[in-house]
Amino acid sequence: MKLDGKIPAGDLSEKWTKYRGTMNLVAPNNKRRIDVIVVGSGLAGASAAATLGELGYNVKCFTFHDSPRRAHSIAAQGGINAAKNYQNDGDSVFRLFYDTIKGGDYRSREANVHRLAEASRNIIDQAVAQGVPFAREYGGLLANRSFGGVQVSRTFYARGQTGQQLLIGAYQSLSRQISLGNVEMYNRHEMLDVVVVDGKARGIITRNLVTGEIERHAAHAVVLGTGGYGNVFYLSTNAMNSNVTAAWRATKRGALMANPCFTQIHPTCIPVSGEYQSKLTLMSESLRNDGRVWVPAKKEDVLAIREGRLKPTEIAEEDRDYYLERRYPAFGNLVPRDVASRAAKVACDEGHGVNATGLAVYLDFDDAIMRYGKSEAHSKGLYNASAADIRALGEQVVEAKYGNLFEMYEKITGENPYKTPMMIFPAVHYTMGGLWVDYNLETNIPGLFAVGEANFSDHGANRLGASALMQGLADGYFVLPYTIGQFLSGEIRTPKIDDQLPEFEAAEKAVKERLAQFMNIKGKQSVESFHRRLGKIMWEYCGMSRSAEGLNKARKMIQDLRAEFYADAFVPGDLNEYNPELEKAARVADFLELGELMVVDALDRNESCGGHFREEYQTPEGEALRNDKDYTYVSAWEWTDTSTDPVLHKEELKFENVELKTRSYK
């Protein structure tokens, strides 16, 4: 298969403008006759469905949640990047483009990333117009802060709930289109297959999660905005129900899965506390604006802390190792996520981890509290304020900035982070890999599109903070609504797609048989227990660091676990009722296949780049060692039949505007 990214010719900065000006359009009278299915109602799905509805297409939008407002985009905390240069600190579209390419360790497409940087500015305008209550300065203008991997302040935010506010904005736009009759909303419906007719995606098969009914939905095109697959690790910051099923079912129908091994491990999450743990909670990257990461330099202090004989606040300044500031002086605590996570792992591997499990480091706000306190005291004319008064004032400032995060931390751990440093550890957070798409966001199956985290296109091997919201909304509001016209303009003579076609019949039958198969295993072990075991394998061998030996072992373990699942899983309840265990079984079955593909992909990539760290390929200082000569390509995997080996298709990445360099944050 020859992969064509369909990147328009011309100068990088003009590609998108020129392409947009010359692409095929669908006239309003024809849009009314064209049906589009959007699966997923997060930032990408909801914004796409709303915008397509505004344009006049007949849209059907599907979510497995009880309401589109519950999508996991809602949990994004820190912010959204945009090249507005409101701070006059030297930001520009090119700089955002460059930071994203570099942050992604030179494994993403130049043209896509540049388009993303261009659209970033429109997103902020759109969100403000929708009434998204972004943080503001006293003059009434929009406020910004910094995120990792950049040296400008371009992140817009709404306290620690930016994802919530942006999603509600998109949800409200979607609700308006629902009320106008342009979008038909299907809540509590899970997509279980894509229907391909004559090589084109023409519909989906869904299960009504309340009644269990299997339904057919036909359309001229299908858009997947179904998020990432971080839950393959079981423990992650993803919501419990986030899953890969929609994307994986598309893969089984021939869509290619690109760079599946590129997963993002977020450095600042609340550490695991026990076996019963169901998910991990993120502490926003924005905290690294003010928090300093450290571990005790002396082993005896580490021991004393683990045994509860010493408190972190009792350790003298000179006995603390602020390892990020030491190793990466240029970026300090704001190095990109992959770098910060690996550095935490190194500190813990060397025996400096601070909680009972040895898997935690400190994130300390004491300096920030005192610094802000002094400034506040000064601005209030309190020149002789005591240390305690300064601290109290500083705590107020920190509370205004991060209050909800501190409160969340205290609820979960029972410790007060204003008084004692937070304990944090890396956790799976985001997946850069996803369905392969061309410049039009179309997969290799004509008429099947993927937007947001579900596609692979913009973040390379590592995503920068505050860029997921940007990409989801860019795709949904400002890219897909144009590019889908390239496909749909060829469909204006296609009558309504008939859901009685044999392809629909066959897909429905396959879905029913598959669900019945889960019910009929009648084994002894819960689906959850298989998921937990899969997660442990993935974390151990395909997590923060990977080796050929471990990956080969993991592949066999996953295959065995999959066989055991089909022999001994137990799914209670019935097919035709509300049955969360059945939903889970179908999702875990897909994770059991995806996990193997991730391992295969990680094995193929004999280099370290971004979130993919192969132990065999590192510099003497322990930094990632990329191999541009042999691996400057996108790995797009074809795997419709798990009894055979996945087939690799390569899309070479061409860098014409940036020079490939060793990524350095020193």
Partner: protein
């Protein structure tokens, strides 16, 4: 810690339900939902049907949890969703009663799962600003006073869980509805449609079968996001003003 659970079990919307009693071994670091996970794993091991409950983000922001714990929606902790409630706040040997959010407008689907689509329809009635993609002007061309933006934000933090309805003796949705109206009507972007918004959303709230607000304010006390009843006062005022304007009358 050992706990006795009295859990509401109901097969479907049409059938009645009843409390079942279970014993579960938990530990104090677990979240409430992780404790229920333990119960469900226990039931599955006995080849019994687990308790259906809705949950998703488990970090207090998606608004999916929908249970009443010992008489309180989301349990006894102030400003806390069920998923953020930890077992360290319960005692060894305690009996905990767990039931779904109860309201006519929130029919039970199964066990602790309820249908809250009425909330979506209230938003569809006017909980938005009518701006199509691409029509926006530069974000900084509308300066908004910091305090005002912050107040709008406070209203906008509503997670749409429905605890306010479950807490209210009248099962009124006034806190939810007023939070959205306040968020949008307070901002300059939302002003154009303000009067129509308040009329349409309040009408839809009534049409869904929620009760009337009689200022009990249990909603504010139980709201996991501390949404203020000031929003209700604001909406009452705006509703009254909107009905006074000529030609703008409630559809009722």
């Amino acid at each position: 810690m050992k706990l006795n659970l009295k859990v509401w079990r109901q097969k479907g919307a049409e059938t009645g339900g009843k409390f079942e009693t279970y014993t579960v071994e938990a530990n104090e670091h677990m979240s409430f939902l992780e404790m229920l996970d333990v119960l469900n794993e226990q039931l599955i091991a006995e080849q019994k049907e687990p308790v259906s409950f809705e949950h998703d983000c488990r970090e207090g922001i998606c608004g999916t949890c929908s249970m009443v714990i010992n008489g309180h929606p989301h349990g006894p902790m102030k400003g806390t969703t069920t998923c953020q409630l930890h077992m360290r706040h319960f005692n060894d040997g305690e009996t905990i009663t767990i039931e779904p959010f109860r309201a006519n407008a929130f029919p039970v689907i199964k066990d602790l799962v309820v249908d809250r689509s009425a909330f979506d329809r209230i938003i569809q009635a006017g909980g938005y600003i009518s701006v199509n993609t691409g029509q926006a002007q530069d974000g900084n061309s509308i300066p908004i006073e910091k305090e005002l933006a912050s107040e709008a934000f406070d209203a906008a933090t509503c997670i749409g869980c429905g605890a306010c309805v479950a807490a209210c003796p009248n099962a009124s949705a006034m806190l939810f509805t007023s939070a959205k109206i306040s968020h949008l009507n307070m901002l300059p972007q939302g002003e154009v449609e303000a009067a129509q918004r308040v009329l349409n959303m309040v009408d839809q709230m009534d049409a869904e079968g929620f009760g009337a607000c009689s200022n009990v304010t249990a909603c504010e006390a139980e709201c996991p996001k501390d949404i203020s009843v000031k929003n209700i006062a604001r909406v009452n005022r705006e509703y009254f003003a909107a009905t006074l304007a000529s030609e703008r009358v409630s559809k009722k």
